[in-house]
Amino acid sequence: MKEQDKQKGFKTPKGYFEGFTDKLLHNIDKEASSMPKEDGFRVPDNYFEKLSREILQKLDQQETKVKVLHPYRKYYYAAASIAAILVLVITLQFNKGEGITFEDLANSDIESYFDNNELGLTSYELAEVLAINELEISDILETQLNEENIIDYLDDNIDDFEELNLENDELQ
C-alpha cells in the first residue's frame, strides 16, 4: 500500500527504468576507465621492419665465427694438444698429490662467485639440492643465539607476547 502511495503524484521520465541498467553500466565503465588502456610507449620508425634482418645477421655473424677457415689449423691443434698432454703428464709426475681441489677455494671466493653470477635457480630448486634436514641453525648463523636474544626478538615482533607464555602459565 505504502509503495503505491509513494508513486502518487511522482512521475519518472519516459523509458527511465528501461535505460537505467545501461546508463549505470556505462557510468561504471567510465569510472573504471580512469586507468588508461594505452601505455604510451612507442618504437622507432620502421623498427619492426628492420628487426628480422638484424636478428638473422647477428645469427650469421655468430655462426661465421666458428667456421673453420684454415683446414691445416687442425694439425696445429693436434700438435698443441700433444704438447699440452706432455706438459701435463710431466707436471703431474713432479707434483703428485698437490692438485687443486674444491677445498682450496677460499670461502670469500665462493661467496663472491654466487654474488656476481646469475645462478638461475629458484629457491625451490635450491631447496631440493640442500639437505635442509641435516642442517642445524648454528650452521647458518655465525652468532650463537641465546635465549635472551630469542625472547627479545619475539617480544619486539609478536603482537601478543603473552600468548606465547601459555605453556609456562600452565606449568606454574
Binding site: D39, G40, L51, L56
Partner: protein
C-alpha cells in the same frame, strides 16, 4: 598463418630452418616486443633482450618438445631473459631491484620513445611499485589481453593464483591512481 607443428618441424630441419625462422620472427616479433618492453621499459634494452630471445629460441629449438605451445615457450624464454636482464642491471648499478624500478620510471619522462601523458606516466609508476609476479600478470592481462589459461601456461602458475594476483594488482593500481 602457418600451423605451429609445421613451423616447428621446419625449424628443426637444416634445409628449411632459415626460412622458417624468418617466419617465426615475423609472426611473434611485435607480441614479444611489447611483452618485454613492459618489463624492461627502455626501448634499447628491449631490443637487446628481444634479439637474445629469438637467438635462444633458434639455438634451442631441438629442445622444444611440444609439451606446451610454441608461443608459450617463447614467452617463457622472453620473460626469463627480461627478468635476468633486470637482475644483472641492478647488480651492475649496485642498487636493489626496487630502486632500479624507481630509476627506470624516473627516466621515462626524458625517454624519446615514451609519449604518454601524465596519467599514463602515473600508471607506469604504479605498475613499477608492484611485486614482480603481480606486475607480470597485470601487464599480460590488462595490456596484452592474454587469457588466464595462456598466462598460466607461460608463468607456470595456477589460474586461481593468477586471478588473485591480478585482482590485488588492479586494486593497488587503482588506489595509486586515485591518491593525490
Amino acid at each position: 598463418m602457418i600451423a605451429e607443428e609445421t613451423l616447428v618441424d621446419q625449424l628443426k630441419q637444416k634445409k628449411t630452418q632459415q626460412k622458417a625462422f624468418e617466419v617465426l620472427i615475423n609472426t611473434y616479433k611485435e607480441r614479444l616486443y611489447w611483452h618485454v618492453r613492459r618489463i624492461v621499459v627502455d626501448h634499447d634494452d628491449t631490443d637487446d633482450v628481444l634479439q637474445n630471445t629469438f637467438i635462444k629460441v633458434y639455438r634451442n629449438i631441438d629442445g622444444f618438445k611440444g609439451n606446451s605451445k610454441l608461443y608459450s615457450w617463447m614467452y617463457r624464454i622472453a620473460t626469463n631473459e627480461a627478468l635476468t636482464f633486470l637482475k644483472i642491471k641492478s647488480k651492475k648499478l649496485g642498487v636493489s631491484s626496487e630502486e632500479l624500478q624507481i630509476k627506470i620510471v624516473a627516466n621515462l619522462q626524458a625517454d624519446v620513445y615514451f609519449e604518454g601523458d601524465q596519467i599514463q606516466l602515473k600508471l607506469q609508476k604504479a605498475i613499477a611499485s608492484l611485486p614482480e609476479k603481480q606486475k607480470l600478470v597485470f601487464n599480460m592481462k590488462y595490456f596484452e589481453e592474454l587469457k588466464y589459461d595462456e598466462i598460466s601456461d607461460i608463468l607456470d602458475t595456477s589460474v586461481g593464483a593468477l586471478k588473485a594476483s591480478y585482482h590485488l594488482a588492479s586494486k593497488k593500481i587503482e588506489a595509486y591512481l586515485k591518491a593525490d
